[in-house]
């Protein structure tokens, strides 16, 4: 009985999160086109539905009915595996993200946390591990297509993901030093208080009179944001796709639903990366002011609201970057990753460790 209640609750939570994520993915494609067009004095999609809001549905139906082509000479098995291999890891990461306060209810003797699917104690490592599996989808897709552009795109993706995964990992370490835990839930809880306690400002880590000393993680935040843009293959780091050089990079030979899978994985990766950034650096579900304005059940809703606001702000930042910046050249990308981001992240770890040690004496 208890087992089945537990399983049912988990399934319901997973269904809700999947539903919300996939719906967001669908409408992100529209939001991106709209935001880009507004920044470029255009209109964006206007035909399907009022102001084009039904465009994602039309796109979905179109992709669903497209002919599914496997190019001659392609490796059939890997060609079919690659889209799944890139979508599944992108969706799996949402399992450990705290969407709201760490609050428990009891349903027939089982304690259920409604806003957290599961609290794995190595949550952030789990996400990083699966994020790098997603890169295999791109590399295999590029190789299995039997197309020179796809292969080049796949190789670029491999090099880029390795370079920038490293920086993401190193940027996160200083946050782990501050919160002393790998669990996403604990990291979010440690930033309770107000905006000043968020890791990006980082007050409240000192003892005694040094409580106010900010162990700011701003550098880590910037490194994380830039590296995560690179990791999700978004402009200005979309070298694996690079329409103007590589046709469509690793996606060149894909059509129909397989292409849609790659597309969905790109957008769900964006959402995942935004969720992680808001949990690690911007206090997750905590409001910028101390405590909550509303009370009781509404306080929980307030937490979810703030989390959503932060995630959408990040997604807007992705669009904003895309509207502004041109693509980097390949050597610039590599140089920037290894010679600028990596030393910054390493230096940040050293400085943070020393400051935290001194503050906690």
């Amino acid at each position: 009985m208890q087992m089945s209640v537990f399983a049912l609750a988990a399934l319901v939570k997973i269904a809700v999160v999947m539903g919300v994520v996939l719906l967001t993915v669908a409408f992100l494609t529209l939001a991106e086109r709209k935001v880009l067009s507004w920044m470029q004095d255009r209109m964006g999609p206007m035909e399907v539905g009022p102001y084009g809001i039904l465009q994602p549905i039309a796109d979905g139906i179109k992709l669903f009915f497209k002919e599914d082509i496997v190019p001659a000479g392609a490796n059939r098995f890997l060609f079919s595996l690659a889209p799944i291999l890139s979508l599944v890891p992108a969706l799996i990461g949402f399992a450990v993200v705290p969407y709201g306060p760490n609050y428990e209810i009891e349903v027939s003797g089982v304690r259920i946390k409604p806003f957290i699917i599961t609290d794995v104690n190595i949550g952030i490592l789990y996400i990083l591990a699966f994020a790098s599996i997603g890169a295999y989808g791109i590399i295999l897709g590029g190789w299995a297509s039997n197309n020179k552009y796809s292969l080049l795109g796949g190789l670029r993706a491999a090099a880029q993901v390795i370079s920038y995964e490293l920086n993401v990992g190193l940027a996160i370490i200083s946050v782990l030093i501050l919160s002393g835990s790998l669990s996403m839930v604990t990291i979010a809880e440690k930033q309770a208080g107000s905006m000043l306690n968020w890791n990006i400002i980082g007050m409240g880590h000192g003892n005694g009179i040094w409580w106010w000393f900010p162990v700011t993680q701003f550098v880590a935040f910037v490194v994380y944001v830039i590296s995560s843009v690179a990791e999700t293959n978004r402009l200005p780091f979309d070298l694996p796709e690079a329409e103007s050089e590589l046709v469509a990079g690793w996606m060149t030979e894909y059509s129909g639903m397989r292409f849609a899978f790659f597309f969905m994985s790109e957008y769900s990766n964006m959402i995942l990366v935004s969720c992680i950034a808001s949990v690690l650096f911007l206090g997750g579900y905590h409001a910028p002011y101390p405590g909550t304005i509303l009370s009781g059940g509404w306080a929980l809703a307030e937490g979810v609201f703030w989390f959503t606001v932060k995630v959408y702000a990040f997604l807007f930042l992705f669009f904003w970057l895309r509207a502004t910046l041109p693509r980097l050249r390949y050597d610039q990308l590599m140089r920037f990753g290894w010679k600028v981001m990596l030393p910054l992240a390493l230096g940040n770890i050293v400085v943070t460790s020393i400051v935290v040690y001194l503050l906690r004496i």
Partner: protein, 185 residues
């Protein structure tokens, strides 16, 4: 490098300038509503054409429903892309007078330069303001005389009045060649 350059590099100054430009446009458009899209929803709204717009080419007629074209072939000679084919022929029974028995325009090749219109000695050609001529079949753009005359009728409802040439030396341009005014003295 001066110190200010270092600071600019460190804070990604150029990137921030660019980001500011795009967000300014965004805010002006969405929040302040000062800007409008420069694009049009094409099939629903159409751009105003300039007065000198050069669209599809048409053959014209005189007000008495006779064709203006005298089959001189000058348009064919003037056309840089060899769009025009004129098969010229005598008017039966009037050996001095010619007309275009067949007249073809391959509009797939036309670059709308207007040289044919300039070349025509009797102003039989004109450029209309039509442009929505997308076709599923390329051969639909190979226009014959009827289609070109229809284009002319559609776009130029007011026809030019046909002059009767009085001077004996040019009077053979008249349709009524047989009714030439007598050459006196």
């Amino acid at each position: 490098m001066p110190a200010s350059q270092w600071v600019k590099t460190l804070i990604f100054y150029e990137l921030l300038v660019g980001m500011k430009a795009t967000i300014t446009v965004f805010i002006d458009r969405i929040v302040l509503r000062k800007r409008k899209a420069v694009t049009l929803q094409y099939p629903h709204e159409k751009r105003d054409l300039p007065g000198t717009y050069r669209g599809m080419i048409a053959l014209l007629k005189y007000d008495d429903d006779t064709e203006k074209c005298v089959g001189c072939d000058l348009c064919e000679a003037a056309c840089p892309s060899r769009v025009i084919t004129v098969i010229s022929s005598e008017v039966a029974g009037e050996p001095m007078k010619r007309y275009a028995k067949e007249y073809y325009m391959d509009m797939t090749r036309c670059l709308f330069c207007g040289l044919c219109v300039q070349a025509c000695p009797v102003d039989a050609l004109a450029m209309t303001r039509e442009y929505e001529w997308a076709k599923y079949n390329k051969r639909d753009l190979y226009l014959d005389k009827e289609q070109l005359l229809a284009l002319g009728d559609r776009n130029f409802p007011v026809r030019e009045k046909k002059l009767e040439f009085q001077h004996p030396n040019v009077a053979y341009f008249n349709i009524g060649y047989k009714n030439l005014p007598p050459k006196d003295s």
